[in-house]
Amino acid sequence: MEPGSDVFQWGHGPPLLSNPLLDQLPSYQSLRYRRRLSSGSSRRKRSVSRQRMGSSSSGRWAGPDTDDLLKTISPQRPVKELPISMSDKRRVWEHHKEQHRDLSSLHQWWLGRQRSFRRFKDDSHELLSALVLWRKDIHVIEGKFGTGIQSYFSFLRFLVVLNLVMFLMLFCFVTLPVIISDYEVANSTMLNVTASFNCTIYPSTVRQGLVLFHQYIIDALSGTGFLEQTYLFYGYYRMDSVHFPTIQYRMPLAYLLTSIACLLLSLFWTVKRSVHGFKLNLIQDEDRFQSFCNKIFAGWDFCITDERAARLKHSSLHYELKTDLDEERIKQKIAHRTRKEICHIYFLRLLLNMFVIGVLGGCFYAIYRATIYSQEYSQTQPQQAQNFIVGLIVEYLPSIVITAANFITPLIFEVVIRYEDYSPAFEIRFTLIRCVFVRLASIGVLLFTLWSQITFCGGESCFCGYNNNLYPCWETRVGQEMYKLAIFDFLIIGAVAVLVEFPRNLIVTHCSCSLAKWFGQQEFSVPQNVLEIVYGQTICWIGSYYSPLIPGISTIKYFIVFYIKKVSLMQNCRPSTRPFRASSSNFFFLAVLLIGLLVACVPVGVTIGHISSSKACGPFMNYNISWDVVPSAVETLPGGARKFFYVISSEAFAVTFFVVVCLVLFYFIALARAHKLVVKQLKDQLHMEGRDKMFLIQQLYKAQKTFKQQQQLRPRTEGSELEQEGMLHPDRDYYRPPSSDVFPEDYMDYNLT
């Protein structure tokens, strides 16, 4: 704003006189309050010839805006999206219907088809949404706790459906053929063993002799014993092919391709769901999404119907605004830091980060040792001599250590971050990133330990490619570890709900001692819960290759977890004072899920492409690595298809494809950047237009004032041209609209009240 120019000081200008002029502008017309379109009797319902139904019939809802609306109302723009009152909408609808009667019969038929198709879509949409799982439960949760927590439960529902689809795929393509061959419904051939004899020894794992009852329980919970050589694990799928009348169903190929297809399906579905949240982030600025405007205008959750929840929402908004003000203050403080302070802060952060790395290193080492101990114990100890509790604990030792690490490290991180002096929003994000890292890296460490055990043959290279003395069927062993992790995760969720949250609620509600006050009621922390289920889902993805039935187990597990969490939420929890925003949370959940998926792809990829498959069990007994089944399948294809696959797998094609993908990527990045630039330019233009408008209005006001003063000085009998035109009359309220000669016809009916 240029100083000294009173034209630009529109904020301080006379407000009374700028308003009426502004109200005459078309852009303000659309915001006039909803008035009935005239009294109805003078209105003509049929105005087929003139599109200007708005201005001819309106006494109040005036202006070119209705005209513009009608002009833009074509069948493409639905009536329901117009910002006019319901009775007006119905009139527009009737007007359209009458217009349609004048069209050709073919056109009418086509419009009729369109309308009934739209109806059909609406009805089917309604029917499908009635079939959606847990719709009413999630609605209730939304009403009581808001959309942040509701998004967690929607996410859980998404995982249940995803796991169910994966299970159905694996069941149909992998398990069902084996069942068919077991019950001899169709002709099938089993795999012939071709590897050297030593590698193919796979002793039966069913316990012999007198078996104590508790050993069956240990077996059921850890997948050993009677469960090991069943449909549950990789080792049982030793079929070669099933002979149907027309085709031959190759089992190894099906196993490999279905596992890869499951992972790809999960990837596409998750990306599809996350695209929506991502689109918003691309266009807008990153830092602004927690801005004040967002909190004021989009902060109140209109879905809340419960009084307690409303009260909590009020206090959480209050807390959020206070936090934002604090953050502004901290930003100011950071901007004014001295050099010495900056050095001090960075040194402190370095120290604390090294401490965190040390803690993480300790956790990972503990997991490593626990895994090795657990493996050695179950191999060296004779089966009969195992004590029940000790045996169970040792079997589950890796799971116990991982879960303990996952519980303790967030607490440590929360303490550490307070000393690192970041802004509050960054603190939350950084702690979450660290927690995600711990959760997923612990699975990685476990798998790395297993891998090192499997490929370690006492210092020399392994004869069979893996340690066949300890691990005759190593994929089954990995599958068992994943199975144990999944079961233990489920048991922990249930145990925490029953043994920690319910008693805490009882203590807090019935006992008024200071301990209860210090504890407080349980808060439903959305990020930690999401990390928990993403961790479980990563285990499911990894396990799906080694144990085709794990997705089914996960479906049942998450189904039950939904009800556990819901009951626990309703009974025990109060909404968090630091609520998680629904918009950013959707994107956050799916981003973490994608990271989990990528982490899951690594061990599966290494297994398929690098480690020798077991020679004693499983569908890949006759191949060196699992991936070899694909080239041998391609060999059997007819010439044309074979050539096609050779071309695709050649290096020339891969390089060309990579280059093309890079080009496409760069193009889209450049496009997004150009759009951002255009958006900025348009914003600046808007700013300038606004200032122009204000400038012109001020000039007009000045001109009117000058004219008024001049009129008062002149004798009454002389009339100026302007006065005759009715534009400016000294005695009238000058905001009476001018005559039709000066302004368009549409303003005639305009009435400023």
Partner: protein, 187 residues
Amino acid sequence: MGNKQTIFTDEQLDAYQDCTFFTRKEILRLHGRYHELAPNLVPMDYTNDPDVKLPLQLIINMPELKENPFKQRIVEAFSEDGQGNLSFNDFVDMFSVLSEMAPRELKAIYAFKIYDFNTDNFICKSDLEQTLNKLTRDELAAEEVNLVCEKAIEEADLDGDGKLAFTDFENMISRAPDFLSTFHIRI
């Protein structure tokens, strides 16, 4: 659907279905809700479009609106006389705009009307202060309210006049990621 209902004619239901984001079943259910607010005033037979309006007090006591701090403004924004008396048309329109299927632009227009307390087609600082006080139940200190309002106007105001016109508001709403998920009522 399958049952013969005598509340509306088929043509009326067609009109409602095309003019709102609801299906026939939902419109009939809405009529049921409207009727139970005042069973003596609202006729069951709407075939001849009776001119019945329910006062503000009845509407804002509905469970969906009861806890909303802006309930009065919402009902006023959708009423034809600006006083909050809703006919059935306005009632259906209100829930249609607030439903999940309504597009962002339409919701932005009505949100602007709701937050414009003094109905001068601008969201000025006093409107913002009133909004903020309703949101936090007057728990923020006066200078904090002042600071927050100034910051909000600073963020959203494009043409630099110190208050938010509809273009400013719409532009700001398009950048507010939570708007679509919070500005909806399920009925």
